[in-house]
Symmetry: C2
Subunit: 258 residues, 2 copies
Amino acid sequence: MPTVLKLGGSVVTRKDGVEQVAVARLERAAGIIGRFHGRDGDAAGAADVDAADLVVVHGGGSFGHPNAERRGVTTSEGTHDAAAVRDIHDPMRELNRLVVGALSEAGVPAVQVAPLSAGHRVDGEFRQPVDAVAALLAEGFIPVLHGDVVATAGGGVTVVSGDELVTTLATGLDADRVGLCSDVPGVLDAGGAVVDRIERFEDVADALGGSEATDVTGGMAAKVRTLLELGAPASVFDLDGLSAFLDGGSPGTWIDST
Amino acid sequence: MPTVLKLGGSVVTRKDGVEQVAVARLERAAGIIGRFHGRDGDAAGAADVDAADLVVVHGGGSFGHPNAERRGVTTSEGTHDAAAVRDIHDPMRELNRLVVGALSEAGVPAVQVAPLSAGHRVDGEFRQPVDAVAALLAEGFIPVLHGDVVATAGGGVTVVSGDELVTTLATGLDADRVGLCSDVPGVLDAGGAVVDRIERFEDVADALGGSEATDVTGGMAAKVRTLLELGAPASVFDLDGLSAFLDGGSPGTWIDST
């Protein structure tokens, strides 16, 4: 069963620029994934981790959010303007090409997959048949998807987030494990320390601010809720934890209600 | 029910160059489709033709065939080399971006759709769930697909041709009509004249050379056989016939066994 790994927009892009790749961070991530993939078939590695069975999702960062915001398009607010669709989609495709290029340089057999071509949204829910992704995996390729825009019944085209893709892929592919690599080392408690393990939302409701949360912590609260419902264990970590995660370890915060 | 229109590689690219768009032909085709689309909702048009319900597929021409040939990849011969996949896929995505750009300039709400992201091949047969394409159509966009490479069970990645996409889309979307616009004015008989109508393969078997056909006429023989099995009428025509086809007419050769 595959592992789904998300590289956050904060990992692959620079927030202080417009459509600028974070070259050093991207190359570091690609190098770690490349070393992991190069171990494929090596019995000395963690026995239950299959290096070939990895799906990568990345966020939009400075290639995605500014364009979507300028066009007023979110996961719930859509557009029927085809020019707006291209304005948001094209830079994300370009970022995806650069991420795939970096992975390729590191020896990873990465292949671009665009959610706009395969998915759609109905009643607020993102759906994507995983046929193509599963077929690529079965042939030894590493599919690399990106936050994107998708056709939305009754609403034109809306944004699909990297987190939504992670959920859809983990469910559709019956993933073993999910990893969210961002610029924070894990889910933080009220004192700023990494929470080791979350099995119920109540464990961290106070620390995450519950329903009165600000945008930022509200984002993490929603993320934790979603990950608890996944049916597969998830880890939240930063680049320092990526190698340990791929090796089968649990860096950062381990989230598992199963 | 939608119309599926294929613009052959010979329409959108120059065969005498490497990865060169046939600018004048592409702009002419886009202009015709744009004028057709601009009539959407105009009751003066052909009553049974819905301008919004159009899916466009284009071939690879000089962006597709040379790269696939160099890598030894066909619809039946695959590769497991991710670099080869990108070498064939990336130029096709670029051609697709240029075709979508020309359509957009002509006022068509065109959106890129990549078969690599959505389709795969099993036992020689190309399959693509049409969810995303149908959802884009329903929201008033014109999906534009391209000949591509796709994951192939047991065979790595193989080429998917524009003609295969036409068949899969026509079936999956229950298309009304199919149009193949290329550089020939229709199916030609032995004397070089356009055959008006084909209802059974036997009507043209002699003219097309039957099973002893050369590559070129063999290509057309196979195409006619496939179109006869579609379940929807198909027209084969050149750019001079595109306007008439979109208006609901039957330029070139009309192929219909239904």
